[in-house]
Amino acid sequence: MCAHAPTNKKVGSKAPRTAMPEQDPRQRVRNFSEVTTGYTPEMALAEAQRCLQCKKPLCRKGCPVEIDIPGFIAPILEGDLDKAYKVLRDTNSLPAVCGRVCPQETQCEGACILGKKGEPVAIGRLERFVADTFMAKDACEEITGTQACTLEREDLKVACIGGGPSSLTVAGYLSALGIKVHVFEALHEVGGVLVYGIPEFRLPKAIVRREIDAMRALGVEFHTNWVGGKTITVDDLKAQGFNAIFIGVGAGLPKFLRVPGENLIGVFSANEYLTRVNLGRAYEFPKSDTPAYTGKNVVVFGAGNVAMDAARTAMRLGADKVSIAYRRTENEMPARLEELHHAKDEGLELLCLHAPIEFKGDEKGWLKSIVLQKMQLGEPDESGRCSPVACDGQFCEIPCDMAVIAVGTGSNPLIGQTTPGLELNKWGYIVVNEETGETSIPNVYAGGDIVTGAATVISAMGAGRRAAKEIAKRLLG
């Protein structure tokens, strides 16, 4: 836009929602850099001006951890980003992450009053702006306001098993109170799904690392390559004098479709594919050693965030065509709206109302095609969504040399098997007291996906926070 832009631009709440700058789709499908590039200070100011500063902010109710949303937006207007960050950080220990990956349209923004008639305030984008502005500062100072951190209560120590957002929240909360926290992560990098699942182009790993470094500066100790239940058990941790133990191991057991040919070469779980690419940095192969398969004709099964991530990763790794095969229609897709739009802009094809029947391969075991059955929408099921019903006898076979299965995950049995007395429900998830997060074993807590099943970053963080509060209450009185 030229310098003499029209001056009759709408301001405040009447102004249109400030667009998020992003890389050109044709360019970005060839790289792993972040798709959206973030607000400039001017954009953030314009967007912050749209907020009505409601007395009874509906947005806050929509947020699973009830961030004081008007409270962090107001200081943006005054240019006091330090204050804005502190308000955010009060309830959310990973704002740069949440600003990027939370499904805002169904949470805070979905509840924002402005959304009733027009477009809601872009709360997530503002959250990201504030957090990113802070990323440049000293890690410890940014949280506590002091440069050097000392642990006041060296005698108290808490262990977290698993290094995902739920555990990181426990660690952030308790270490800020001076309690020593040790995090035991099975993989070689801490961050959980944030580092092994969600791709670089949506959540740069540098941002996650930065948040983790901030916790390290607070005195949190991270132990990678420690498998809970194998290298160290809950009983071992108790014997080592840990005052409380939090289990946040996520729900990473991949589900398969249970159709013939599923073990052919070229059929992957989303977890394997994404772990190879993200944790193993296969997109830098052969500079990094972990290979990822590059299919030409890729079909992804499922339509959630995981499926979108796998599909968009396959595009970036050089597939000619990537389709999402889904039993229902676009309206029922559970992925974040923004991700679906981004994926379509990048050339993703939707193969709605199709269900997998069989994977076919050549004599050497390599995937060659898939057989799909046509579906139609029937009556709503218990989830409220229209159920897919098979159209009798209507099949099609399409060529496909790589398939990714992203139809959900289940609970990993490792911890359950090695922790006597830990109560699990019939799906293998850990049973907790909803208010405190405590499990059937006293002073052993759990939260995040291993309690709820695959959910969201913010809900895992909410669970971490609840448990941390309870732990702090018991330890500090």
Binding site: H188, H223, I265, G266, T275
Partner: protein
């Protein structure tokens, strides 16, 4: 956590080596049948290797590897005192070891002999009579003969060229033994896929329990990726958490064999690149 190489021993020069790694917490927990996943360097791939032995007092574990591609070749360039960046374990289910009435025959091929060593030792400690059967193409390629001789009640050897032991295959020795001894309680086989498949074929008519340790491709090793899935008795199992040991009669070896080829082209690219960049720096030979 990083782990230091305490000792290195070349078993077959340029091809197979043994490393003793400083890993007290893994040594404390490791049981026969377990494996570790390691990363040699920052850009490295996670690869699984069996724990061939442990020394709980010294806090060390032993691994034996065959140089196959990039990662194992890189590992081979390291010296005593060097560190590998990541070592994770012990992983996998422990071998089912209990006192049995008859002898256990432990069959090993190639680097599988090292894995078999830990299992055989476990059976020996449990008071079982242990017959080990090992094979290689020729005498120079035979691993762990001395180590096994220390505790095994018998060590039977076959070489393809007859340079040591009996000329032929381990399966020939196994078959002879099963024919002459009906008290055998279990057969354990660790080695290349075709060997394990052949062992299962030999034991089938005898109805002897046959355990094989599968080497499917792995990524995380804790049951989260599904890369290691194998068909056992028509069901999909994850070798890293449900195994790596399974009933040899139930395993779909054809599928396992083909799945091991999945990344072949890329593995070659990776190895070639490595050889180019590692012309003269690596060896102290």
């Amino acid at each position: 956590m990083p782990s230091k190489i305490v000792r290195k021993r070349s078993l077959i020069p340029g091809q197979t080596s043994e490393l003793v790694l400083d890993a007290p917490q893994i040594a404390a927990k490791a049981k026969p049948g377990n494996f570790v996943i390691l990363r040699v360097c920052e850009n490295g791939e996670r690869i699984p290797l069996t724990i061939a032995d442990t020394d709980k007092q010294a806090g060390t574990i032993t691994i034996v590897y065959l140089v196959l591609g990039k990662t194992t070749a890189h590992l081979e360039t390291l010296k005593e005192g060097d560190e590998i960046v990541d070592l994770c374990g012990p992983l996998g289910k422990d071998t089912d070891i209990h006192k049995m009435d008859g002898p256990v025959i432990c069959v090993g091929g190639g680097t599988g002999i090292a894995a078999m060593h830990h299992i055989a030792k476990g059976h020996h400690m449990a008071g079982n009579r242990v017959i080990t059967v090992i094979g290689a193409r020729s005498k120079d390629l035979l691993l762990f003969y001395d180590e096994l001789s220390k505790f095994a009640d018998e060590v039977l050897v076959s070489t393809n060229d007859g340079s040591f032991g009996v000329q032929g295959m381990v399966t020939d020795l196994l078959k002879d033994r099963l024919e002459s001894d009906t008290t055998v309680a279990e057969v354990v086989a660790v080695g290349p896929v075709p060997m394990m498949e052949a062992v299962a074929r030999v034991t089938k008519p005898f109805g002897v329990k046959t355990t094989v340790s599968l080497n499917s491709i792995m990524v995380d090793g804790i049951g989260m990726c599904g890369a290691c899935r194998v068909s056992v008795g028509g069901k999909t199992k994850f070798a890293c958490v449900d195994g790596p040991e399974f009933d040899g009669q139930e395993v779909d070896f054809k599928e396992l064999g083909s799945r091991l080829q999945a990344f072949k082209t890329m593995e070659q690219i990776s190895y070639e690149e490595f050889k180019k960049s590692h012309v003269c720096t690596c060896s102290n030979k």
